[in-house]
Symmetry: C2
Subunit: 584 residues, 2 copies
């Protein structure tokens, strides 16, 4: 293959967001050997049908959300007279978003939404997050609240709150963290006292509450983790309460202000448009969601979805940063480019090209995995892929968020000195990205979940299924006779073998769990990196089934070849690290 | 070795800077098997003598520079009435710095300074940069100007400008970049017209001029790259001019304002206290430095020093970020720590411990290399280590600056959600760090220099000397019988072999230079990672010569063992990547 991708191309303006609609069409319809939308919906919907929704969503993201990303960063959310004021344009954009049906699009039919399959909502989520990561958090949190209510709320709570959340007229939040209770929710001190009338009085302080207050919707439905009197200590004493910002009047409309006060707003490194609130609850009226002392279970319903959502946010931020770097590199002229004609932009320099292909090869793999995770969740109940779905969540969350930091850093580097200047826009993504491997469970928490609950607990059975699934692709790749495919198969086979050794090493740490947890992050990196190779193998098999190789197909082959030479090779180093266990 | 280093310790307040004076004493006196200060000065100065200077410098850094780091970030340099105003306290701090002799301390005796050896000035430079990276750039640039003047300036220029620069009463700048001329200096358009009276009229616009204007000193000596009438196109037509902010009066004192105007100040991601100026020269009076059309040679004198300086800046930023994370992790309580008693701070969690040791193991290796590079430069003329010195510069600059980004990112991660809150302070280092792999030549430019001029040009001869130097340590390590030393020797031997394969692959790309330059960054990462193993081997050999193992020695052994299991293993992946050449 010629070194073609440096060539001057039609390039979007650096601030423009171009939603990867065609790539999703390929992924939904072909990459996994079947139309995953049709399979998930029993034929009720096809990938082509979904394509129309993606086209419309992409347009909305590019035209409404993306232009607000800069003002969101520069002005940010502000606390004015005890309430959060969002930057100019946010309120109108949110209303348009809800009215266009984009909140309900990703809600299950049971809960009153459109019931699009997970593989499609993954695409929508990428578009919202790529175009405006800070804004996308707002409807993202509503989805968590909707799921928690749908699953555990009483009929009365569901009928009072669900329709407005699903329509987007109201938004939802998750209230977990307190100053002394971050990753360790067992330390939560917020108290709920039974009012004896079916309601509870909730008191305490919650911090880091994303979109905890704002002016874009008419009511906010807080889901609050609290302890009740006489409840057990630790995790087992926590219950979940619904606390509305405005209590509902006799007609079910927002009425009297509840005693939830925004006492502070954090000054953050990034996602400035997302208000991160300190909320004070003083005998605020709340309603129990689910059983007493089962709050953490209710919360985990939200958290699992939120973790997938934040993973996809990582993909979105990475792609936006990449698009900016790509546009800059294809317009900026600097120096003679080795072996190429005068006038070649910097995208042709060997190392700029390396950075760009490195970014896009990771993004394409992560995007394919995001679709797969959505699809596996869609099928979890019908075809027994539930264990796979659970294994994939911590990998998706860790991998896509950590790579968001790396890719957005690479995007700054492509810009040279201009990348460090705020006006260029590349720095914003780098700043925004840095929260992603932290919130909704840090990379360490994800990796401990992966190692402890998803690998050690079943003695490696589920992860071995993954290795078997990967190997299924390799013979087919080799049989194509294509050089890229053959190299990819050979490198992936060696990577699977390294992953098997690492898994055996983990299982061998039985007597010393610190050894396993001291290398949980390297083990997760290893699996994530291997999954990237798997996704490229999947893509290459689909590409080589085409009778004609399109420009997109050439890019896909290039990305696969690059990924296996530059990223997949890391698996061998990580396997050695995992085998070492805790040092010292 | 027990898992000891999580234990509650005397911990500095998170904002405090603790200069690593004792570590430098070890490095200067013992780590390299000899007192490198005594060797470099022919016995005129010993490591113990240097220790007094380091103690005093560390105190100054901690007490004067460090407390200004936060206000520097928050208020930043501002453009007021056409001049740059530094944040409160900067002016006084700079005067105290100059009066204490810290500018002249790092200047050669020939140029009128104290002539401290490079191994010692490396330590000073780390202290200034760790305590206040934005501030440290100011005297750092003076050193470049001093070197350029000392080497190429006329007797008259030297006598008029050098003493004031050396004393720190005036400061220096480097004026290279223009909007169309960043990495490619051949595109410089600033013109100098001969006034016929020994002076030149310089006109043009320069951007990204660090400390290009300020209020901390009485004059600013700009060294400006410009083209003269009738000069050849490209690099060979550039000359170097000295352009003072204030022209000198008959007594040599700053007099009439020269026509250099600060027309803009950049809004940057980090190092806010460092004014990054757009300077407009309009027939500004300048003086030729060195020969006509030899400007780039004069500039390279400054650039080589500046590259070493920025590398060490990376080390400083990394260490400050690490110190903050270490302090937080040893005071923050969250969750039960696996296998350890209640009340153990988060530093005891397996993954927090992993992050902390990962950071410190890289910092210790980079610090040792910084001393070695200073020492090799000291000896370059006397014992023929010049080729080594040249090989090391791009490795030092790339490695220490890239790791500054990674380590400061890890430091944010250790803080969890608090790391994303600006008040915590961790985010500043992450922001500050991001310029380091860009300015003074990006990582790609360093890596191309490494591959093209330092490896391919001599057919791998110098780099093979490095491999031989590394191997010299390994037999001794194995002979100690110590487990850490044996593992380190075994892993380093395999790493050297991988580096040799990668070098052979590079040399084999003779006919297709794009293949070599497409993997120049991975090759540089490989060598840098290997050098880290070498530094730990050096340190472990010195430690095991001790009759008693101190707490510092235990930490050093732990870091060496960790580095070889977690970082050195990457060499194998990188060797595979290098061998692949350009993809596609």
């Amino acid at each position: 293959m010629a070194i073609a991708n440096f060539a001057p191309q039609t390039v979007a303006d650096a601030g423009t967001y171009v939603p990867p609609v065609a790539e999703y069409a390929f992924l939904l319809k072909e990459a996994f050997g079947t139309d995953v939308v049709a399979r998930a919906t029993g034929g009720a919907l096809s990938a082509d049908d979904a394509g129309d929704a993606l086209e419309a969503a992409g347009e909305f993201a590019a035209e409404v959300f993306a232009p607000l990303d800069r003002v969101g960063d520069q002005v940010g959310a502000q606390l004015v007279d005890g309430g959060v004021r969002t930057p100019d344009g946010f309120k109108e954009a949110y209303k348009a978003f809800a009215e266009a049906g984009w909140v309900s699009a990703s809600v299950s039919e049971e809960a009153g939404g459109d019931g699009l399959p997970g593989s499609v909502t993954a695409a929508l989520s990428e578009f919202w997050n790529a175009s405006n990561a800070a804004f996308a958090l707002c409807p993202g949190l509503s989805h968590g609240a909707i799921s928690a209510l749908q699953k555990n709320g009483s009929a009365e709570l569901r009928s009072s709150y669900l329709p407005k959340l699903v329509s987007g007229e109201w938004t939802g939040t998750m209230n977990l963290t307190e100053p002394q209770a971050g990753s360790d929710l067992g330390a939560v001190r917020t108290m709920a006292r039974d009012n004896g009338d079916g309601s509870w009085a909730v008191s305490g302080q919650k911090i880091f509450i994303t979109w905890g207050d704002h002016d874009v919707a008419d009511n906010i439905v807080h889901l609050v983790l609290a302890r009740t009197e006489g409840a057990p200590e630790g995790h087992r004493g926590l219950s979940l309460f619904l606390v509305p910002k405005f209590k509902l009047d006799a007609n079910g409309a927002p009425g009297e202000r509840n005693s939830v006060v925004t006492v502070g707003l954090e000054h953050k490194l990034g996602i400035h448009a997302s208000p991160t609130c300190v909320l004070q609850f003083e005998d605020a009226t709340g309603y129990l969601v689910g059983e007493l002392h089962q709050g953490l279970i209710g919360m985990f319903v939200m958290m699992n979805e939120a973790r997938v959502g934040i993973g996809v946010q990582g993909l979105g931020v990475a792609d936006r940063a990449y698009q900016r770097a790509f546009a800059y590199a294809h317009t900026r002229l600097q120096g003679s480019v080795l072996g190429l004609p005068e006038g070649t932009p910097i995208a042709g320099h060997p190392d700029v090209r390396r950075l760009l292909v490195s970014m896009s090869s990771r993004i394409s793999a992560m995007r394919a995995f995001s679709v797969l995770v959505g699809d596996v969740h869609d099928r979890a109940e019908s075809d027994g892929t539930g264990a796979l779905a659970e294994l994939f969540v911590p990998i998706l969350k860790s991998w896509l968020t950590e790579q968001a930091v790396h890719v957005s850093s690479d995007a700054v580097q492509v810009h040279g000195g201009m990348g460090f200047i705020e006006e260029t826009g590349a720095a914003q993504h780098f700043r925004d990205s840095r929260i992603l491997p932290i919130y909704e469970g840090t990379t360490a928490i994800q990796s401990n979940d992966l190692v402890g609950r998803k690998v050690l607990r079943d003695k490696g059975e589920t992860v071995s299924q993954v290795f078997a699934l990967i190997r299924e692709h390799l013979a087919a790749l080799t049989a194509t006779g294509n050089d890229v495919a053959k190299r990819l198969a050979e490198r992936t086979e060696r990577a699977v073998a390294a992953a098997e050794r690492a898994t055996q090493a983990l299982l061998g740490f039985g007597a010393s769990p610190r050894d396993a947890f001291a290398v949980s992050v390297p083990f997760q990196e290893l699996l994530a990196t291997l999954v990237g190779g798997w996704m490229h193998a999947t893509i290459v098999n689909a590409v080589l089934a085409h009778t004609e190789v399109s420009a997109d197909d050439e890019r896909r082959l290039l990305e696969a070849d690059f990924y296996s030479a530059h990223h997949l090779a890391r698996v061998h180093a990580l396997a050695e690290t995992v085998a070492a266990g805790e040092i010292g």
